[in-house]
């Protein structure tokens, strides 16, 4: 018997007399709007930088977030202007390692956890783009902010790879004290666009 058949047979034998319908309680949470202020505060809790700006201020906010004379890569379909950016034409890992920063958009953002989620389509790029360069500037629109993790799960397509990012790379492996900056980008810069609520351009939360 193949390993597959043997394992499946063992499973069937193990649960043969125990099978019963299990009632799975649904998630009983009211559907709430994502709180953009909370999102900004929670991202900042991870020692990431959050800058809020109106739609017309995005290019300036991106430029301000990038280190001086940085080499910057942008994925295909990036809707915002990025000064001096190199488009990703299948850069090798080594070439990316020599790149300082990457600018992307995101698919969804989570208020209660301060998380941004990329699903690596247009504007977000291959997974490796937001991994190897040391600075990640991520543009998030206020209308992309949902309330909690379950709401984000509902919005995402499992067929696409996704990367959930909560602050810069970190570890708690040394005496369980958190240190920011291990293998992923050590600087995470979130540019939060809108809403048109009169927030002055460039206001830092």
């Amino acid at each position: 018997m193949s390993a597959r058949d043997e394992i499946l047979a063992a499973v069937r034998g193990a649960v043969a007399t125990a099978r019963r319908p299990v009632e799975v309680p649904p998630l009983d949470r009211p559907e709430r709007e994502g709180d953009v202020d909370l999102f900004a505060a929670r991202v900042a809790d991870y020692r990431a930088t959050v800058v809020r700006c109106p739609p017309e201020g995005v290019a300036a906010a991106i430029a301000a977030a990038l280190p001086e004379r940085a080499t910057v890569v942008v994925p295909d379909g990036m809707p915002y202007a990025v000064p001096g950016a190199v488009p990703d034409a299948g850069l090798s890992s080594a070439e990316l390692d020599a790149t300082t920063a990457v600018v992307t958009t995101a698919t969804v953002a989570i208020a209660t956890t301060g998380t941004i989620v990329l699903s690596h389509g247009a504007g977000e790029g291959r997974r490796v783009l937001t991994l190897v360069p040391d600075v990640h500037v991520c543009v998030v629109r206020a209308d992309q902010v949902v309330d909690d993790v379950p709401a984000a799960v509902r919005r995402l397509d499992p067929a696409r790879p996704t990367t959930w990012i909560s602050g810069p790379s970190a570890t708690s492996d040394i005496e369980l004290s958190r240190v920011e900056g291990v293998h992923g980008p050590r600087t995470l810069h979130v540019v939060l666009v809108g809403p048109a609520d009169g927030t002055p351009p460039g206001a830092v939360s």
Binding site: A3, A14, V15, V149, T171
Partner: protein, 496 residues
């Protein structure tokens, strides 16, 4: 890591050695106190925590009772997404699949994401025997691997090491296997993390084959999920051309939607964060993005044995958060090595006997007793595994497994007690004997004036022979001069 847990002594022996290590106890007390406070704070932020636990437990129960159907579905979805699915009955079979993939690509090294399943099957040792180096890339795993040490915690395998020890290990060992530690390294955790970043980056950039586990496997979509902090996981999952993921068959969740509750529970329970820095999900091969050859090894290695255990089955709900370790008064004092397994703490005390079966070796049989049954683990568990009940059931199984052969002193004592309690006459005789002994001991201790007292009653000192093991940790009161039944008879129920 070249050391394994093979040949570890039973828990009481190993625990005694661990308890004598004051540095270890200080490191553990500091770490577990920190993590408990962090967890409590982020759990308190959610007002429906119990509802989340109930949902998570029910999802897992449903999966486990229909695991065959979900596994077949998972295989279909993965295959449709371009992944190659392998099935492994044993640790050896799982390790051999990884070795075969590495050989097929002619590599002599692989980079690894921290994974309990690959530790359980001792993959690194298996690969090393074939001349393939497996580089651990999680910071704590790197510390353990470089220090030729053993993991002592599910989440933070080097929890038993403090910053000074870690610095010494890096300075001593990094140069042996790659880029040396910076000359001016200090014991500042920021500098230590930086040293790991530099040391591992060259390995990430050149690796052809990556090896991972998975926190969850979604049957419906063929999606694997890896939850991590440092970005080493993302490196291993996206940079290499080939990816092999070793996944326990109990990791299945039915659909993508069910991740809602698990991705809420896991980070809060494990690192005490609202969300871990990085979570990666992928479904087979994504053209032009990440590994273009993807293998998934579905691992049994005792899981179907655990699944057949009516009481213990619930242990397979475990999502490896390690909250039970951090709240356990036994773990906090002995540390993880005493459990003699990659799965230490309360969950290890049930998972190891369930996976391996009881009655075969002394070490495994000792684990269900490595608990005070205080219940803190059950309360902390995000998937509501009733660890104390499983421990008690496993103790019964251990006793049953030893019924034939030479009985232990404890069994003999129990048999004698059963005989005494079995007949009124024998009980009366036993009471009379005990009353005599009581009077004699009482007289002796008042004569010598050395008797200790507890609750107004004199105590027996250290018992001789096998009884000493009992009195070493407990107070034994001197037997009363008169039994209740004798008193009742003499005074007619207190009326005379």
């Amino acid at each position: 890591m070249s050391r394994t847990f093979v040949g570890m002594p039973p828990f009481p022996t190993a625990a005694r050695a661990a308890l004598a290590d004051t540095q270890l106890r200080a490191n553990l007390a500091h770490a577990t106190t920190t993590i408990r406070a962090k967890r409590a704070a982020v759990v308190a932020e959610l007002d429906d925590w119990e509802a989340l636990r109930l949902r998570a437990a029910a999802i897992k129960d449903d999966v486990l009772l229909h695991l065959d159907e979900h596994l077949v579905r998972l295989e279909e979805s993965l295959t449709a997404r371009g992944a190659v699915v392998h099935w492994a009955r044993t640790a050896e079979e799982a390790s051999e699949v990884v070795a075969q993939v590495a050989r097929a690509h002619g590599v002599d090294e692989v980079v690894k994401v921290k994974s309990m399943a690959t530790q359980e099957v001792e993959l690194n040792e298996h690969l090393a025997a074939q001349g393939i180096s497996a580089w651990e890339t999680d910071l704590a795993e790197l510390i353990v691997q470089l220090g030729d040490d053993l993991p002592s915690h599910i989440l933070v395998p080097a929890i038993h090491r403090n910053r000074a020890e870690i610095r010494a290990i890096f300075e001593r060992e990094m140069a042996r296997v790659g880029r040396p530690a910076p000359a001016d390294l200090t014991d500042d955790p920021v500098r230590l993390a930086e040293a790991a970043r530099l040391h591992l980056r060259e390995k990430f950039l050149r690796a052809k084959v990556g090896v991972s586990g998975a926190n969850f496997a979604v049957a419906d979509s063929g999606t694997l999920v890896v939850v991590e902090s440092e970005g080493n996981g993302r490196m291993c999952l996206t940079l290499p051309e080939v990816l092999v993921s070793v996944v326990g068959i109990e990791k299945v969740v039915p659909t993508w939607t069910e991740l809602d509750v698990f991705l809420t529970l896991l980070p809060r329970s494990s690192t005490g964060e609202r969300m871990n820095p990085y979570t990666s999900t992928w479904s087979g091969v994504t053209p032009g993005d990440g590994p273009q050859e993807v293998h998934v090894v579905l691992l049994d290695n005792g899981r179907t044995r655990a699944l057949a255990d009516e009481v213990g089955r619930q242990a397979l709900r475990c999502i490896r958060c390690s909250a039970c370790l951090n709240v356990c008064p036994v773990y906090e004092r002995t540390g993880g090595h005493a459990y003699g397994s990659v799965y230490p703490g309360p969950i290890g005390a049930i998972l190891n006997p369930l996976l391996k079966g009881v009655g075969h070796d002394e070490q495994t049989d000792s684990l269900p007793y490595a608990s005070s049954l205080c219940g803190a683990c059950f309360e902390a568990c995000p998937v509501r595994i009733d660890i104390p009940s499983v421990l008690v059931d496993l103790r019964a199984q251990v006793v049953d497994a030893h019924r034939s052969g030479v009985p232990k002193p404890e069994a003999l004592a129990m048999r004698a007690a059963a005989a005494a309690f079995g007949s009124g006459g024998r009980l009366a005789a036993a009471e009379q004997a005990s009353g005599l002994a009581g009077r004699a001991l009482d007289a002796l201790s008042s004569l010598t004036r050395r008797g200790r007292r507890a609750g107004g009653r004199r105590l027996v000192g250290r018992l001789p022979g096998p009884g000493a093991a009992w009195t070493d940790a407990r107070d034994l009161p001197v037997p009363p001069r008169e039994s209740f039944r004798a008193w009742w008879k003499r005074t007619d129920g207190g009326t005379r």
